[in-house]
Amino acid sequence: MGVQKDRVKFNVGGRIFETTATTLANAGRNSLFGAMFDENWNLQSNPATTAAATEHFIDRNPDCFSILLDLLRTGELHIPTNIPEKLLYKEALFYGLSDHVRTARWGPFDGNRLHLARSVHGRAPGDGTAIRAGPDGGCCVAHGSMVHVYDWTLEEHPPINLDYQRVNDAIWVDSDNIVISACERLGRDEGGMGLFSTSNGELRYKFHVAHENQAKSYTGGALSFNQDYKLFSSCKGRSNEYGIGVWDQVTGNQVDFFYEPPGWSLGEADKLQWLHGTNCLLVATLFPRKDNCYIGLLDFRDKSMVWSWSDIGARITDERRVRDAIAMEETNSICVVNEYEDLGFMDLRRAGSIVRWSSRSRLMKGKMPDEPCYPKLALHEGQLFSSMNDSVSVFAGPDWVLTSRLRNSYGGSICDFSIGGDRLFALHSDENVFDIWETRAHSIV
C-alpha cells in the first residue's frame, strides 16, 4: 500500500492539517488551492519523497480553515456557535470559497420546512414599499425613495438613491443588476425606470418611453421580465402613454408599447406576471388604486387581450373584493385573494370566468388589527404563499390545503414578501425589520 501519493500537509496558524489533493481539487481552479497546486507553481516537486513531509504554511485562522476543509471534504457546512458567521465568510473570501459556502449554507427551498434564519433590523425607516429576493440569496428593500441592497451574507451594499422620487417597484434581472421603477415628478424629466448596479448602486441606464417618436416623462409601475430578456412595466405618462411598455433588457431600448384600451386599466397596474407557457403577460389593477379590479392576459404578438376579468357592475362587498392575483400555469387558473385571506380561483381557459371563492376564514372578520396589511400572493414550485397580518400561509396540493404558517412574533403585519434564491424574505410594517426564512441543508444521513 505505502504512503498515499497525493497527501498534502498544511500548517494553518500553527495547527497541522493533513488532507489530499483530491479533496482540495473540490475547491476548483478559481480558488487559492486551485492556483496553489497548478503545475506553474512547483509545489508538488519531488512528490513521492517529500510531499507528505513538506508542510505548506498558511497564516490564517485554523478554526475557520477546519470548517472550510470539512466543507470541501463533505460538501456540508457546519458552523459552531463560537465562530461568528462574518468571520467565516471573510475567510471563505480569502480562499476563494465564497460560492461553496453560499450553496452549502441553506438547502433547496421548501415552504413546509422553513425556519427563521435571521431578522435584519433598523434598515427601513418609515413604510416599506416592497422587498424583493435576488437570484442568489440577496435581497433589496424599497422604501420611500431609497432601495437598500443586501448580498447573501446580508452585508449591505451602497444603497440606491432615487433622488427623492418614490419607488414603486424593483426587480432583480440578475445578481448584479436591479431595475427600479419610480414616480414621475412634475416639471422635471425624471421618474420612469432605471437599471442599477447592485454592487455600488450606480445607475447604468434609464428606460425611456417614446410616443410618436418623442421621449415622454412617465411614472413606472409594476415590473416583470421574460426569458427573452424583455422587460415589462406599467406606465402612466403625461398624456397618451398609458399602458404596458416593453424594453430590451440588454440594450435598454423600448421595443413595444401596449396602449390601454378604453374602459380598461393597464397603466396603473399593481402586478405584472409573465407566463412562460402561454407567452402572455398577466396584468392586474386592483383596489384601492382603482375602484374596480381589472385582470387581463395580454398577447404582445398580435396586440390582443386574450383573457380578461373585471368586477365592474358587480355588487361588491369586502368579501368579494380582490386584493391580489396570481396566475398558476400548471392548473390553468388564476388565484385571487380577498382581505380576509379567502382564496378564489378562475379558469384561464374560459373567457368570462367567474371567481369560485373557497371561504375558509370568516373568523378573521372583526379580528383585524388596527393597521391591516392586505394579503399578497406568491407561487413557488407548486406551493402557494399568502401573507396575512403577521404571518405567511403555505398552501399545497390540488385543493390548496393550508400546510404551514410562518410567523415571527416580532414586527407586526407583513406588508410584502418575496421568494428567490431559495429564501423567503418578509418585510414587516410596524417595526423596522425584515425576516429571512430558509430551508435547512439536507444531511445525507
Binding site: N30, S31, L32, A35, M36, D38, N40, W41, N42, L43, S45, H56, F57, I58, D59, L93, F94, G96, G122, S199, N200
Partner: protein, 734 residues
C-alpha cells in the same frame, strides 16, 4: 453596527492603527510582489512561495493598498513587455514570427501565474472599482506594447500577408505557426484581429485576385477559367479552416467571388466558342454545374445565366417551330420539341440543381415558342394520333405513361388548348371508328390526364365518344339477335351510332348506297328507332369502311378493305364493265372532291389499282373512264386500299377548323363576360378584358377585339348596358 456599542475596546483600534500607518509596510510588500513578477517573467519561479505572495497581495488589498498594487502591476508588466518587444524586434527574418510566438506563450504563462497571486484583488478590489481584470489587463498591455509597437505592427502584418501570398503561389508554409499568431490576434479581441489583420488581408486579396482574374481571362476559355476560380475559392475556404477565424470565411470568399466571378460574369457567359451558349449546345454538364455554383454565390449571378439560357432556348425553339422542313412531318416536329425539352430538363437537373427559377424559365420559353407556330396544337394531336395508331406496339406500359406525360407537358404550354381539343376529337374519332387504336388503356389514360389538367368539361365529349363505341357494340348484338335468321345470306352490317355533339360533325351529305345494303340499313334504322324513341338517325357515309370479296379476271380472289365511298364505286362494277366519271358521280352522288380522291386511290396507286383508268394519268379528270383491272395481283390475300388523304389538314380544311374554333369560342367568351358582370355589377372596359382573359386562360388566349365584339353583342341582347355618364363602364342587367 454592533461594533459601535463596543467603543471601549481601545486595543483593537490601537492595533489597526499601527499596521495601517506604517508607511513602509506597503512599499515592502509591493517589493516582494514586484520581485516575484520579475522572477516569473525570467522563468525563475521555482523559488517563490505561492502562499506568501497570495497573502501579501491579500493584505495589500485588505489594508486599502489595492490601488498601489494595481498600478504597480501595470507598470511592472509594461516594463517586461517592452523588453519582450525589443527582443522580438531584433529577431531576424523568418525567426520574427517564431520569436513572437515564443514570447506570447511566455507572457500567457506568466499572466496566469500573476493572476493566481492576485486572485483576491481580481475578485474583490477590481469589480468594486470597475478596473480591468488581471487577465484582460495582461492582454491589453501586450496589445499596446508589443503588437501595436511601431517596429512590430507593420512588420507583423507584412510578414503574415507575405506568407499567405507565398502559399497562394504554391509554397508550403508553417501553418501551425500561422495558426498560433492569428489565434493570438483573435485572443486580443475581435477588433485587433479585424483592424490589424483581416481588413488589410481582404484588401490585398482583392488586389491579388483582381490581377489574377484579369490574367486568367485573357488566356483561358470559359470552362478553364471557372475551374481556376473554383479552385481558388476552395483554397481560401481551406485556409480559413486551417488558420483564420471562421468568421473570415464569408468575407474572403466574398472577395474571391467579387473579383473572380462577379466582375467577369458577362464576359464569361458570352465568351465566343466556350461561353454559356456553347456549353449548352455541347451539353457540358460539368462546366454548366460549375458555372451555376459559382454564379449562385454572387448577386445577379443566376439571373445572368437564366437570361442567356432563356434567350438561347427561345431562339433555337423559334427556329425549330418556324422551320418549314420540320413542319412537313408533325411527328418529327413534336419529337424534336420533346428532345429539346429532355435536353434542358437534363441540364437543369444535373447542372442547375433543379433550380425552380430555371425550371420556370424553361417552361416560359417553351410556352413562348410553341405558340409561335399556330399549328402546334394540331401537330401535337397528330403526334399522339401517330403514337396511338401504331407507335405503341410492343412498348411497355410504363413507357407509354412516360410518353403521354411528355405530351401532356407540351399540352400545358399551349395557349390554344381548345384548338388542340378540336383536333384531338377529330383524330380520336378517326381512330375509334376505324378501329385503329392500339391500346384502349393508353387512350383512356390520356383522357384522364387531360381531365385532371383541364377539368371535366374539357373531356366530357371525348368520354362520350368512348361510351358511344360501347353502346354501339351492344346495339349490334341486339340487332343481330332480333334479325339473325333473315340476314344470314346478305352482307354484314356494323353500325356505330354516334351522339351528335360528342363527335366532330361534318356536313353529312349522304351518298347513294348500293341497293344490297340499302335494305339492310333500313332494317337497322327501323330496329333502332323501334328500341329508342324520339331519335333521328342519319348516315355518315364519309366515315365508314367496308370489306369486299372480289374476283378478278384470272379467277384470283382477294379481300379488299375499302372505305364506304370506295365500296359504293366498286359495287357499280358488278353490273357494268366500264363506267365514266360522270356515270359514277351520278350513281353514287358523292361530292366531287371526295369522289376524285376515292377514285385516285382505286386507280392511281401502284400495286393497289383495282380499277383501270383511261387515259392513264395521276390526276382524275371529269372525262375519264374506268374499268375493272383484270390483271390486278397482290401477294396478300387481304388488300387494304387507303384513301389518298392529306395526313395534315389542307389549307381550306385548316381554315375551316380555325373558323369552327372561333365559333366555339364566342359562347365561351360571352359566358365569361356574363359570369364576371353578374358578380361585379359594374366594371370598366379594361378591367373586364383583363378578367375575361384571365378566366379563359386555361383554355385559350382570348383576343381583346373579339371580347369587345362579344360585349357589344351582349349589349344588343340586353344583358349589359353602357353607363349613361361614363361610357367606359358597363352595367349588368339582371
Amino acid at each position: 453596527m454592533s461594533s459601535g456599542h463596543k467603543k471601549r475596546n481601545f486595543q483593537i483600534e490601537a492595533f489597526k492603527h499601527k499596521v495601517v500607518v506604517d508607511p513602509k509596510y506597503a512599499e515592502k510588500t509591493w517589493k516582494i510582489l514586484d520581485h516575484a513578477i520579475h522572477e516569473i517573467y525570467n522563468h525563475n519561479a521555482s523559488g517563490l512561495s505561492f502562499e506568501e505572495l497570495y497573502r501579501n497581495a491579500y493584505n495589500m488589498v485588505l489594508h486599502k493598498f489595492g490601488e498601489k498594487l494595481y498600478s504597480g502591476l501595470v507598470s511592472t508588466m509594461t516594463l517586461h513587455l517592452q523588453t519582450m518587444s525589443k527582443s522580438i524586434e531584433s529577431a531576424h527574418g523568418g525567426l520574427f514570427l517564431e520569436e513572437l510566438n515564443t514570447k506570447w506563450s511566455d507572457h500567457n504563462k506568466a499572466l496566469q501565474m500573476i493572476r493566481d497571486i492576485l486572485m483576491y484583488m481580481d475578485r474583490t478590489f477590481i469589480p468594486s472599482t470597475h478596473k480591468t481584470p488581471v487577465h484582460e489587463l495582461g492582454l491589453n498591455l501586450w496589445r499596446d506594447n508589443v503588437i501595436h509597437s511601431d517596429k512590430i505592427q507593420t512588420r507583423l502584418l507584412n510578414t503574415l500577408l507575405e506568407l499567405i501570398l507565398r502559399e497562394r503561389m504554391g509554397e508550403v508554409i508553417n501553418r501551425g505557426l500561422m495558426r498560433n499568431i492569428i489565434k493570438m490576434l483573435m485572443d486580443l479581441g475581435p477588433s485587433v484581429y479585424q483592424d490589424d489583420f483581416e481588413k488589410p488581408f481582404l484588401e490585398v486579396s482583392a488586389d491579388f485576385y483582381r490581377a489574377e482574374s484579369q490574367e486568367f481571362i485573357e488566356c483561358s476559355d470559359c470552362g478553364d477559367y471557372l475551374k481556376k476560380a473554383e479552385r481558388r475559392l476552395n483554397e481560401e475556404i481551406e485556409r480559413v479552416s486551417h488558420y483564420l477565424d471562421a468568421k473570415s470565411e464569408a468575407k474572403i470568399t466574398n472577395v474571391v467571388e467579387k473579383e473572380m466571378v462577379a466582375n467577369h460574369m458577362l464576359r464569361l457567359v458570352h465568351m465566343d466558342n466556350s461561353g454559356l451558349v456553347k456549353m449548352l449546345l455541347d451539353d457540358k454538364l460539368e462546366d454548366l454545374g460549375r458555372m451555376y455554383t459559382l454564379f449562385k454565390r454572387v448577386p445577379i449571378g443566376l439571373p445572368t445565366i437564366r437570361d442567356v439560357l432563356t434567350s438561347h432556348i427561345r431562339n433555337t425553339g423559334k427556329q425549330l417551330v418556324t422551320d418549314p422542313e420540320k413542319s412537313k412531318n408533325p411527328v418529327e416536329f413534336v419529337e424534336a420539341l420533346l428532345d429539346k425539352k429532355d435536353k434542358y430538363d437534363k441540364i437543369i437537373a444535373s447542372s442547375f440543381s433543379n433550380d425552380k427559377t430555371f425550371q420556370n424559365a424553361l417552361s416560359s420559353s417553351f410556352e413562348y415558342f410553341i405558340n409561335l407556330n399556330p399549328r402546334s396544337p394540331e401537330y401535337i394531336s397528330l403526334f399522339v394520333d401517330d403514337k396511338l395508331r401504331k407507335g405503341l406496339k410492343g412498348v411497355k406500359e410504363e413507357d407509354i405513361e412516360i410518353m403521354l406525360d411528355k405530351v401532356m407537358m407540351l399540352f400545358r404550354y399551349l395557349q390554344e388548348k381548345d384548338v388542340f381539343e378540336k383536333y384531338y376529337k377529330q383524330h380520336l374519332a378517326k381512330r375509334l371508328l376505324s378501329g385503329k387504336t392500339v391500346s384502349d388503356d393508353a387512350e383512356r389514360s390520356l383522357i384522364v390526364k387531360l381531365k385532371t389538367e383541364c377539368g371535366y368539361q374539357f373531356t366530357s365529349k371525348l368520354e362520350g365518344m368512348f361510351t358511344d363505341m360501347k353502346t354501339s357494340q351492344d346495339t349490334m348484338q341486339g340487332f343481330y339477335s332480333a334479325h339473325g335468321g333473315d340476314l344470314a345470306s346478305g352482307p354484314t352490317l356494323v353500325v356505330q351510332v354516334l351522339t351528335t355533339g360528342s363527335w366532330p360533325t361534318q356536313s353529312s351529305i349522304s351518298c347513294n348506297l348500293p341497293s344490297e345494303l340499302l335494305t339492310l340499313c333500313e332494317k337497322f334504322r327501323s330496329y333502332y328507332l323501334g328500341t329508342h324513341t324520339g331519335r333521328r338517325l342519319s348516315w355518315q357515309t364519309n366515315m365508314g369502311t367496308a370489306d369486299l370479296r372480289a374476283t378478278f379476271g384470272n379467277g384470283q380472289k382477294y379481300e379488299l378493305n375499302v372505305s364506304t365511298y370506295q365500296m359504293c364505286v366498286l359495287m357499280l362494277f358488278n353490273n357494268s364493265d366500264c363506267l365514266s366519271y360522270r356515270e359514277i358521280e351520278q350513281a353514287t352522288e358523292i361530292i366531287s372532291s371526295d369522289l376524285k380522291r376515292c377514285l385516285q386511290s382505286l386507280a392511281c396507286v401502284k400495286g393497289k389499282n383495282v380499277l383501270r383508268k383511261e387515259p392513264m394519268s395521276k390526276e382524275i379528270g371529269e372525262d375519264d373512264v374506268f374499268s375493272v383491272n383484270d390483271k390486278f395481283t397482290s401477294k396478300l390475300r387481304k388488300v387494304k386500299i387507303g384513301t389518298v388523304v392529306a395526313q395534315k389538314e389542307s389549307e381550306p380544311e385548316k381554315q375551316e377548323t380555325r373558323q369552327r374554333v372561333e365559333e366555339d369560342r364566342k359562347p365561351q367568351i360571352e359566358a365569361a363576360v356574363v359570369r364576371i358582370m353578374k358578380s361585379r355589377r359594374v366594371l370598366d372596359h379594361n378591367n373586364i378584358i383583363a378578367e375575361v382573359t384571365k378566366q379563359l386562360q386555361p383554355r385559350f388566349l382570348a383576343n381583346p377585339s373579339e371580347i369587345k365584339k362579344r360585349i357589344e353583342s351582349l349589349i344588343e341582347r340586353d344583358f349589359l348596358e353602357r353607363d349613361n355618364v361614363d361610357r367606359r363602364l358597363y352595367r349588368y342587367l339582371a
